[in-house]
């Protein structure tokens, strides 16, 4: 079973993502911000990282950069969940090394569809 790391500082969104993905048959580990996600990434190999952009302590872009710096995560798909899917944000996401993006709000079906595309 594939394991996905879901990073979001909002409890409700984290649970929604987690629930949705679990329903679709994935293993999900939750992290509340970039720092926690980065720590988790060192103890466990995730098959996919889904991260919010705006978070305290460490934001999504910095997390992606840091993950890409680790050998184990150079090829791992990383998706950004963001409310601001403008060109600027996309450019930044691409530069940081994100695999793709998904705009918030999204409904569960779309999340599953996108995740299935990368996994």
């Amino acid at each position: 079973m594939k394991t996905i790391l879901a990073v979001d500082d909002s409890r409700s969104l984290r649970q929604m993502v987690s629930f949705t993905l679990k329903t679709a048959g994935f293993n999900v580990v939750e992290a509340v911000d970039g720092v926690e996600a980065l720590n988790l990434s060192k103890t466990q190999q995730f098959d996919l990282v889904l991260t919010d952009q705006n978070m305290p302590r460490m934001d999504g872009l910095t997390l992606i950069e840091n993950l890409r710096g680790q050998l184990a995560y150079r090829k791992t798909p990383i998706l950004m969940l963001t409310t601001e899917a403008n060109d600027d944000m996309k450019a930044k996401g691409r530069a940081a090394g994100a695999t793709g993006w998904l705009v918030k709000p999204f409904d569960p079906e779309r999340l599953i569809a996108v995740v299935n595309k990368v996994l």
């Binding site: 594939k2 500082d9 909002s10 409890r11 409700s12 969104l13 649970q15 929604m16 987690s18 629930f19 949705t20 679990k22 329903t23 679709a24 048959g25 705006n54 978070m55 305290p56 090829k75 798909p77 998706l79 409310t83 601001e84 899917a85 403008n86 996309k90 996401g93 691409r94 994100a98 695999t99 793709g100 993006w101 998904l102 705009v103 918030k104 709000p105 999204f106 409904d107 569960p108 079906e109 779309r110 599953i112 996108v114 299935n116 595309k117 990368v118 996994l119």
Partner: protein, 679 residues
């Protein structure tokens, strides 16, 4: 696979409420002179999180304000604008509006649309000052759900980016045709209107063409002809083509991505049954109704009583013969008490729930009165029973308000008196014995002894100048003591203090004042941890067993004749540890037959409440035990000197003595004044 998002509503509401609480705290502590960028970021994130959640879970009502807040904070975050008191004020107002909207969604409470519109307008003006000039009458019908109409058709109307006032005007027009729901995609700056109506596509297009070119508008029919807007309310439903429009995209070629890894077949997703999924869904909290918790507590209470009954019956058993059984019973007792404690703890809430409302109140009141007040809060993690928390809000608010209103002086007066210009108001909670003690202290003017005495005399009370300070302060708790006219005169304390005291006493608590004129006042409220269980001492008078709350028992002893003194016609006093205490024979109070009439034959129990002491004369001590308090008022009626009842191990009902009430009533009788004279 359909996933019901409504299951996350409660989590979202809880989270939003927490975030709004955090927002308020941040706003009240933010340093206006040099705001910490981290604070500004945190405020931005709160608006962002609420907006994101609201959009995801379908609470579009919350989006307008949070979106505006987000834009405003973004400007400040980027350094385009300075964070000022004006921002702080509008943020506080927005917080209130969001809270009102949240409560509206959550509890169906009244939502003041005008207030929302007003705050929204101010926000928009702050983001873009030009908007103020052209701001249209704010369109409030965004969320008018189709609960009333029986419309047969449903359309999605996709609109391009357009001016807010045009959008509002168009929405208003369209809403006349039926029920309109507006979905704004802030990322794409486009709007999708969902219209449940009877009119046709042509008429809608005609309306739109007042403002837009026909080819700018895209109208699609939603499949639900039954007007089921709940189902149709997904903004993503209209057929959209490109990936960008679908709201996602990839920076890399996905085939490449999977090729680089070892080739693998597409994962076969096994359909997971809903039940299985629900089990795997972990959450750190679950919401349970208070009734269920109370029912559990009641049942556990019965269990404790049953244990006590068994233990009582087992007392006659020979220890050597029934050792294992008796050990088992003891163990059961321990377990059921632990269980009871665990059940009770579910009703406990941190006192912060009450304390957290005060920073705002202090800020607003002190601004209004032109005072400077530093609020210090301590012990806000101390837990209290939910029922107590709810009932303590009003009395505490009253006391804090009094401190601000009448305690702490204005800066100029404070300067004259050689005090710092900013007054100090401290709120603290702490455990003391089986009680939680809440202190409200200020370094203000203190109480004015002379004026209180004067006022008391004017009210026709006979008060001697020799009264101690404590006794004088007690006067302000007298019903009707205070009148509006006194407020200004006598530093206002006493306004409704009788009500405060009565409320606190009805919770089994006590309130006390210490004050030094010119230095300050400390008001102490002491409350029991919980209302439902009590450590009690059971005492016997004749055939009756009564319970004394252990917290009000100091000691018990068999008196010796030479320590007893008779005061002619006014009962006896007993000499205990250097003081004379009045003796209250319990059989006299309850008019019940007693085995002993001579004090030397029975037992004296020294009881205390609110610094008043007395020795209660009983036949015998039975023992100490935890008892479950059963309300007597709701089952029978209020009985003097009695606070409740409990069921004993042998199945009999015992009355719980209200020590405070007993001492209060007895002390007002003149007979005990003479005992003081001796002391």
């Amino acid at each position: 696979m359909a996933i019901d998002l409504s299951q996350f509503s409660e989590i979202f509401f809880d989270e939003t409420e927490e975030l709004l609480g955090d927002l308020e705290k941040l706003l009240l502590t933010v340093n206006l002179a040099a705001p910490d960028p981290e604070d500004i970021n945190a405020i931005f994130r709160i608006a962002h999180s609420i907006k994101g959640g609201a959009a995801t879970f379908g609470f579009s009502e919350l989006i307008d304000i949070t979106h505006a807040l987000e834009s405003m904070m973004d400007k400040i975050r980027r350094g385009d604008e300075q964070f000022t008191g004006e921002h702080q004020e509008v943020l506080l107002q927005s917080r209130d509006v969001l809270k009102m909207q949240l409560n509206g969604l959550r509890f169906n409470t009244l939502v003041d649309a005008e207030k929302i519109a007003a705050v929204k307008m101010v926000l928009e003006a702050m983001i873009d000052p030009q908007v103020l000039m052209s701001a249209p009458k704010v369109f409030n019908a965004i969320t008018e759900q189709s609960s009333a109409g029986n419309y047969t058709k449903c359309f999605y109307i996709e609109l391009p980016e357009m001016a807010v006032k045009d959008l509002d005007a168009l929405s208003e027009e369209l809403s006349l045709l039926g029920n309109l729901i507006r979905h704004t995609d802030y990322a794409k700056k486009s709007t999708i209107l969902e219209l449940v109506t009877d009119t046709g596509e042509g008429e809608i297009l005609a309306l739109c063409s007042f403002i837009l070119e026909p080819d700018e508008v895209k109208i699609t029919a939603c499949h639900s002809g039954d007007g089921d807007s709940q189902q149709a309310a997904k903004p993503a439903k209209p057929a959209l083509e490109s990936e960008d429009d679908l709201g996602f995209g990839f920076f890399v070629d996905l085939d490449e991505l999977s090729n680089e890894e070892k080739p693998k077949p597409l994962p076969v997703i096994e359909p997971v049954k809903a039940e299985a999924a629900a089990v795997s869904f972990e959450s750190s909290t679950i919401r349970v109704s208070v009734e269920k918790v109370d029912q559990l507590i009641n049942l556990v209470g019965e269990l404790v009583i049953t244990h006590a009954m068994i233990a009582k019956r087992a007392e006659v058993l020979e220890l050597s013969q029934y050792e294992k059984l008796l050990n088992g019973i003891t163990q059961l007792g321990q377990n059921s008490r632990d269980l009871q404690e665990a059940a009770m703890s579910m009703r406990m809430m941190p006192i912060d729930v009450v304390f957290s409302r005060f920073p705002r109140m202090v800020r607003e009141l002190s601004a209004k009165l032109g005072k400077q007040i530093n609020l210090v809060v301590q012990g806000n993690t101390i837990e209290l029973d939910k029922g107590l928390i709810e009932k303590i809000v009003d009395p505490l608010t009253h006391l804090v308000r009094n401190s601000i209103d009448h305690g702490i002086e204005r800066p100029d007066i404070r300067r004259q008196k050689g005090k710092s210009e900013a007054g100090r108001l401290a709120l603290s909670a702490m455990h003391r014995g089986g009680h939680v003690v809440i202190e409200i202290s200020d370094d203000g003017a203190g109480l004015n002894r002379a004026k209180i005495l004067e006022k008391a005399r004017a009210e026709g009370n006979l008060v001697a100048d020799s009264l101690t300070d404590d006794e004088v302060w007690q006067l302000i708790f007298a019903p009707g003591f205070s009148t509006a006219e006194v407020v200004t005169d006598l530093s206002g304390r006493g306004v409704g203090m009788d009500v405060v005291k009565r409320n606190i006493m009805s919770l089994g608590g006590a309130v006390n004042i210490r004050s030094i004129e010119g230095v300050g006042t400390i008001t102490t409220v002491s409350l029991p941890l919980t209302l439902a269980i009590l450590d009690g001492m059971s005492v016997k008078v004749g055939e009756e067993t009564y319970i004394l709350p252990l917290s009000s028992v100091i000691e018990s002893f068999q008196p010796s004749a030479d320590h007893i003194k008779e005061i002619s016609g006014q009962g006896s006093v007993i000499y205990v540890r250097g003081e004379y205490l009045p003796v209250l024979p319990l059989f006299e109070i309850f008019n019940t037959p007693s085995r002993h009439l001579q004090l030397e034959d029975g037992i004296l129990v020294v009881i205390i409440s609110e610094d008043r002491k007395a020795a209660l004369f009983v036949d015998d001590l039975v023992g100490q035990q935890q008892i479950v308090v059963k309300n007597i008022e709701s089952n029978y009626r209020k009985v003097p000197y009695i606070s409740g009842a409990t069921i004993m191990g042998d199945g009999r009902v015992s009355l719980i003595i209200d020590v405070g009430d007993l001492l209060r009533r007895r002390y007002t009788r003149s007979s005990f004044d003479s005992s003081r004279a001796i002391a």
